[in-house]
């Protein structure tokens, strides 16, 4: 696996000479390459910069803004040297401040993860955190400060080997200690697939409950990020959904992330916790400082409605939330929005109950359409709610391609595609 992208640096790993404005997400690029490459990098930085929350989900034109003189002109020199700047395809909507868990603090998603890990290590003396680069704080800063606070035997780096990380984590869990493994990107989880599917998931079953690795949790950054391309954008939940014995969880926000992660860590079954990396900094809300749990295998109806049920998880929840507003505004259609939260074992009852009420279902995820988890939901719902359906179940997903780089805006199941599918269902 290649070296990871530093999300708080620009999307390219190339540097820029000090003479150029260092403007990659507000953090200086590393110095020192030849000018030509540096120029390309600077352009790339601008093109791929991810904007924080608050920006609308649309493209903006920048007319050659901020380009210093003497740059190599792009091939279309002479034409309008317009630049497209990417902004996020969603708007993060914070939930209202939770009042039932005590004092809260403003946290983004990675800080909420750190808080959950901090709480876990404080409560559970056997708990350890390990993976690539976690010692200095992690490439997404999820483990900042934990090694200093809890010691090097509890927060430590491992060699670069995902099958080793998960295998090692299983072993710790078999002895009853709490193992929190980090896989640097969900895209890199595949070398550990055998350990997860053949070992972790089956440990309890195959031993007749003599042994188990229930105290294992695997965390990994997940989903599209604007510039991640093939190997920094994947959503592999469907591969694991097919594996009885593990749980797979995806939070939509900092508050959800902390509560769900704590539940995963305390759950007596091995869990995979996918963290939407695009939300690490973009999602900010009030999060309780003390530990609290959000139950697993329970979907949340975050908005009630009567005409269509919309189901998603992770980042996509914010997309469908916006689609719900659009539907209300433009079509007068009332949507029920559900965040699935746990992929397996999933909350069939909540989804079916909703579809029985509305008669229409739209499921959306970034992962490719074929074999994606929407197929499972669709299949189950049509079995359970066939006579209640007013229209075929709609799936709005990524295309059946690897996750592309420059084509990301066309690839993702954005609100326009979801809106269009919803409109067709209403008019069916």
């Amino acid at each position: 696996m290649g070296p990871p992208l530093q999300p708080n640096q620009c999307g390219s790993r190339l540097g820029a000479p000090p003479s150029l404005p260092a403007e990659c997400g507000g953090v200086a690029c590393k110095p020192g390459l030849r000018v030509g490459m540096a120029v390309a990098a600077a352009i790339a930085c601008r093109l791929l910069r991810l904007r924080a929350a608050g920006a609308g989900g649309h493209w903006r034109r920048l007319r050659g803004a901020g380009l210093p003189r003497g740059f190599l002109q792009p091939a279309s020199a002479g034409e309008d040297a317009a630049q497209w700047r990417r902004v996020a395809h969603f708007t993060f909507q914070p939930d209202p401040e939770p009042l039932e868990y005590g004092q809260t603090q403003k946290m983004n998603l990675f800080q909420a993860v750190t808080s959950a890990l901090d709480n876990s290590l404080a409560k559970d003396p056997t708990a350890v955190i390990f993976g690539e680069d976690v010692a200095f704080g992690g490439v997404f800063r999820c483990t900042v400060g934990l090694r200093d606070k809890y010691g090097k035997d509890r927060v430590f780096n491992t060699p670069l080997c995902e099958q080793g990380i998960v295998g090692f984590g299983i072993g710790i869990a078999v002895t009853g200690a709490t193992a929190i493994a980090e896989i640097q990107f969900a895209d890199y989880i595949f070398p550990a697939f055998d350990q997860i599917v053949n070992e972790a998931a089956k440990y309890r079953y195959r031993s007749g409950d003599l042994f188990n690795c229930g105290s294992l949790t695997i965390r990994a950054p997940w989903g599209c990020v604007g510039h991640g391309a093939v190997y920094h954008s994947q959503s592999p939940e469907a591969f694991f959904a097919h594996c009885p014995g593990i749980k797979v969880v995806v939070p939509r926000s900092p508050f959800q992330a902390k509560g769900l992660l704590l539940s995963c860590i305390e759950d007596k079954n091995p869990c995979i916790f996918f963290e939407p990396k695009i939300l690490y900094r973009a999602a900010v809300e009030q999060v309780p400082v003390e530990p609290y749990n959000i139950p697993l295998s329970q979907a949340e109806v975050i908005q009630e409605g009567s005409d269509v049920t919309l189901v998603a998880w992770g980042t996509q929840v914010h997309v469908i939330r916006e689609v719900a507003s659009m539907a209300q505004e433009k079509l007068g259609v009332s949507c029920e929005v559900i965040d699935l939260r746990t992929i397996i074992p999933w909350d069939v009852d909540t989804v079916c109950k909703s579809v029985i009420k509305t008669g229409r279902l739209l499921v959306s995820h970034e992962a490719p359409l074929t074999g994606g988890f929407a197929s499972e939901i669709s299949s189950t719902v049509q079995e359970e709610c066939f006579l209640n359906l007013e229209a075929p179940i709609s799936r709005v997903c990524g295309y059946d391609t690897p996750f592309p780089h420059v084509f990301e805006p066309f690839y993702i199941p954005d609100k326009w595609k979801c809106y269009d599918a919803l409109r067709k269902m209403i008019n069916y």
Partner: protein, 453 residues
């Protein structure tokens, strides 16, 4: 040997980065590693120094172009205590174990051998679905098991039943697992020989060994290493031992396990049974280096090669490795050379890829059981009369357990559904109920008579 000496010179006693390397990283502002080694002195990092400054290796410069020649002609020597006739070669290496203990070695090995014969036959007769024998490797199991504490955690591959036998796992339970009957602690979930025992600290065998598609990826050293790390943190004074064959050592998981054990300083013994074959694949097709022991130094692991058919050599090496692994929190690699006398499993006929003469040599000339018997006899601790009696007795014990196991029913079919998770998810309960309903109508087409109600 050149590899070993060169490696020893390179690695010396340090593991991981040398001092200069750490200082370089400190300069570049890599916080994690610098913080982890606060005890390193501040040395002047100077580019005027002609010594190598690379963080990645602690070595001198050389101005002669020379490739290290892997030495496989005369590889790492094989430690042994007894000769093939069971005579002690160097008396100072004799562990001088008491008679009772050595008799336990002998009886464990022979009881295992007897059980193997009977269960192999039973598969041939269609009474159990599958079996794997341990012929020729009994010494590796018993010698190592005897050197451990009873609470040391064992992660086996699938040819280590002798470890359980030495730990007094009852015949009834061996049979129960092979039959998958109601007494099976594993609840009938796995194929025969996938034993597990929590009380005896023997982690349930895992290996997706289907009869037609045997896989080599049976050993998963990763979990063993994690367990060792946890034991170290808990100050448990326990070692973890992980057994695997020379074939499984080719898996990526083996590499991962070795590297993690070394970098994370885990008290673990990696015990490789090099028995010459991975199903039909001979060692010449499994690796080109000097076996498995030569890999250890590459990871910074203390390593030794022993005569696996010499139960005292295995015992001595494991005992010392255990002592030091716990005292020093570092991994040890023991490569026990032996020979797989039996077929890979009941799905294999090894005459397809090796000569009967070769097998007979090992059976007759270099067998761990015979060698130990010669030793016992020369000490006056065993004779032909006792041998005859013991054979009869052990056979009787095995047959009784066998007949009892065969009579017992299998567990209730609903146990198909439990233990997937700690708690049964709603969807799975629905599936369990749907099977129950299905059987109410179609039960006659299913072998319900053999299963507990």
């Amino acid at each position: 040997m050149a590899v070993v000496t060169a490696a020893a010179r390179v690695l010396g006693s340090s593991r991981g980065l040398g001092q200069d390397g750490l200082l370089l990283l400190r300069r570049l502002g890599v916080r994690g590693l610098a913080i982890s080694h606060p005890q390193r002195q501040q040395q002047r990092f100077s580019s005027l120094d002609d010594k190598p400054q690379f963080p990645g290796a602690s070595a001198e410069f050389i101005d002669k172009l020379e490739f290290i020649q892997p030495n496989v002609i005369s590889g790492i020597p094989i430690y042994r205590v007894m000769d093939r006739q069971g005579q002690i070669i160097n008396p100072s290496e004799d562990p001088n174990l008491p008679q009772e203990k050595v008799l336990k070695f002998y009886k464990s090995m022979t009881l295992l051998n007897t059980m193997d014969r009977i269960l192999y036959e039973s598969q041939r007769q269609g009474r159990i679905s599958f079996y794997m024998t341990n012929y020729g490797e009994e010494g590796t199991h018993v010698g190592s098991a005897a050197a451990l504490d009873n609470t040391d955690l064992v992660f086996g591959q699938y040819r280590e039943a002798g470890v359980l036998m030495y730990r007094d796992y009852p015949l009834e339970l061996f049979m129960a697992q092979c039959y998958g009957n109601v007494s099976d602690l594993g609840k009938g979930r796995q194929m025969p020989v996938h034993y597990g025992c929590k009380e005896r600290h023997f982690v349930t065998i895992s290996s997706p060994l289907a009869t037609q598609i045997p896989q080599g990826e049976d050993a998963h050293p990763g979990p063993a290493v994690g367990a060792a790390y946890a034991a170290k943190r808990a100050n448990a004074n326990r070692v973890v031992i992980c057994y695997f064959g020379e074939g499984a050592a080719s898996e990526g998981d083996a590499h991962a396990g070795f590297n993690f054990a070394a970098t994370l300083e885990c008290p673990i013994i990696f015990f490789c049974r090099n028995n010459g074959y991975a199903i039909s694949t001979p060692t010449s097709e499994q690796y080109r280096g000097d076996g498995i022991a030569a890999r250890g130094p590459g990871y910074g692991i203390m390593s030794i090669r022993v005569d696996g058919n010499d139960v005292f050599a295995v015992y001595n090496a494991t005992k010392e490795a255990r002592r030091r692994a716990v005292a020093e929190n570092q991994p040890f690699l023991i490569e026990a050379m032996t020979y797989r006398i039996g077929h890979h499993s009941t799905s294999d006929d090894s005459s397809a890829y090796r000569s009967v003469d070769e097998v007979n040599y090992w059976d007759k000339q270099d067998h761990p059981i015979s060698r130990l018997r010669h030793y016992l006899q020369s000490r006056g601790w065993w004779d032909d009369e006792q041998e005859k009696d013991w054979r009869k007795q052990s056979r009787k014990k095995v047959m009784e357990a066998f007949e009892q196991a065969e009579r017992k029913p299998k567990p209730n079919f609903s146990l198909l559904f439990s233990d997937v998770y700690q708690e049964m998810p709603a969807q799975l309960r629905k599936q369990q109920e749907s099977l129950a309903r299905h059987l109410q109508t179609y039960g006659e087409h299913y072998p319900l008579d053999h299963f507990e109600k």
